[in-house]
């Protein structure tokens, strides 16, 4: 019998709230975190996309000036979210050799990397700061969280594009089940609202161009969806072996029942049109968590709002859940906060845990004309979830054909 793993702490900094209580309140209300970018670089580089969903509370307002200076913005978000999750878990005594970190990012320190390149070209090598390497490395967030909390059972960085945050939760479960750690702080962070990634994502036609109406640009499952909206921020969860949590009388949000990761091996960016890889991931996560389709009452979908991406996810949910797919309350929270890339899975894991704990499904905004080919029961006003034992799934898919799913069960 595998060790049971529970969730005892949550943290987040997102476009719809700088902490979990604010984010959750807004997620149930249904707000948009997308706004027109005021930066001069939008016009300077003639970017085709003029908006994004920035973190509602800048990390520099939370961290000290000196802390922030030594961290890439992605790491700043990671530290902010992890500190909230750690404080929320209320762990006062811990064997630090049994505390691990699994903290993901999709892109890493892109601001640091590109700023340093500009500095090199404009001012020469002497002016490239000595902190450049530790700030740009993709393991920077995991390393900073490990340093901050004194986590010595390993600090890991799963990188699988937009599935990274979910894969970090998957890794966290494995670390505890395999006995390598008793407590894991896991999550994901991203800070890529920079002209180069915007240009690159726009170039592959992945971003919405609804420049005159940013608040309505992210519209998963809507007939008129035209791409995702770049978001930024971080999510963090404290996973704990059940016996460790019970021994200290911890408040337990939910059980992390099962997780899985699969790969499409189909195309470098396009999803398998039949969603076969996603189906295998969903089935594997449910099997891992001993969850039957009829236990599943809620799905936090990947649903990025791209024309090609939303449909295969429906195919996968249908294949994995069978007729239960019609009874599942589906929330597409990227409609509110945009796509946080490597952080999205972590933030959505936090939302999924809150949905189970609070027994409420969060809102999908901007669904005006539902795509008839995706007849899911999409939650457009906050909805109560049933009493009794319930389970929820959260999906994430990443360029490269990465599929990651977590299954959360009420306690």
């Amino acid at each position: 019998m595998a060790r049971k793993v529970v969730i005892t702490g949550l943290g987040a900094t997102t476009p719809i709230g700088g902490d979990v209580p604010t984010m959750w309140k807004n997620a149930l209300k249904g707000v948009s975190g997308a706004h027109t970018l005021e930066d001069d670089w939008v016009a300077k580089y003639e970017l085709p996309v003029h908006f994004a969903a920035r973190a509602s509370t800048p990390a520099t307002e939370v961290l000290s000036r000196v802390e922030a200076k030594r961290m890439d913005p992605s790491t700043q978000f990671a530290v902010v979210a992890s500190r909230e999750a750690w404080a929320d878990a209320g762990i006062t005594e811990i064997d630090h050799d049994r505390l691990a970190v699994a903290y993901a990012t999709g892109i890493g320190g892109v601001w640091t990397l590109l700023d340093a390149w500009d500095t090199l070209r404009e001012k020469g090598p002497r002016r490239v700061l000595p902190m450049t390497v530790p700030m740009l490395m993709p393991n920077g967030p995991a390393a900073a969280v490990s340093l901050d909390l004194g986590a010595r059972a390993g600090a890991h960085t799963p990188v699988s594009a937009c599935a990274s945050g979910t894969e970090a939760v998957h890794m966290g479960l494995d670390l505890i089940r395999s006995g390598k750690a008793d407590v894991v702080v896991c999550g994901g962070a991203e800070a890529a609202i920079h002209p180069m990634p915007i240009a690159a994502f726009a170039s592959m036609q992945a971003l919405s161009r609804r420049n005159d109406d940013p608040e309505h640009a992210s519209r998963p499952y809507d007939r008129d969806r035209d791409g995702f909206v770049m978001g930024e921020g971080a999510g963090a969860l404290v996973l704990e072996a059940e016996e460790h949590a019970l021994a200290r009388g911890a408040r337990i949000y939910a059980e992390l029942a099962g997780t899985s990761v699969t790969a499409d091996a189909y195309h470098i960016t396009a999803p398998d049109p039949e969603g076969l890889g996603a189906t295998r991931a969903l089935k594997a996560a449910m099997f891992d968590g001993r969850i039957q389709p009829e236990d599943v009452v809620h799905v936090n979908a990947h649903a990025t709002s791209t024309p090609v991406g939303d449909k295969p996810e429906y195919a996968a949910l249908k294949a994995a859940l069978g007729k239960q797919v019609d009874s599942v309350a589906v929330s597409a929270t990227k409609s509110q906060m945009g796509h946080l890339l490597g952080a999205s899975g972590a933030v959505e894991a936090v939302l999924t845990v809150m949905a189970i704990y609070d027994r409420k499904a969060p809102v999908t905004i901007n669904l005006e004309n539902q795509d008839p080919e995706i007849p899911l029961d999409v939650v457009t006003t906050a909805r109560d979830l049933p009493s009794g034992s319930i389970a929820a799934l959260s999906n994430s898919f990443g360029f490269g054909g990465h599929n990651a799913v977590i299954a959360v069960r009420s306690i």
């Binding site: 000290s64 000196v66 200076k69 700061l129 000595p130 902190m131």
Partner: protein, 81 residues
């Protein structure tokens, strides 16, 4: 040309910016590593910022000789002379 007092004040601002230490803590007889707890990466950042601020060049091989704040002030003053 800056006086030693002006160099000290400028250096203290750079140290404060990098480490958060109060500018008053940056005194001539203080050791960067022993007293101010400045690690090698921060020291290099301070050196590069000082080069820009004072318009001097501090060679890498010279940095290890700058043990105290006073050493740095003297080096910068001489380099400016």
């Amino acid at each position: 040309m800056a006086s030693n007092e002006e160099i000290l004040a400028g250096l203290a601002e750079i140290v404060n910016e990098e480490t958060g230490l109060a500018t008053e803590a940056v005194e001539m007889d203080k050791s960067f590593t022993e007293d101010l707890d400045i690690d090698s990466i921060s020291m290099m950042t301070i050196v590069v910022n000082a080069e820009e601020k004072f318009g001097v060049r501090i060679p890498d091989e010279e940095v290890k000789n700058l043990k105290t704040v006073g050493d740095a002030v003297s080096f910068i003053a001489n380099a400016q002379a």
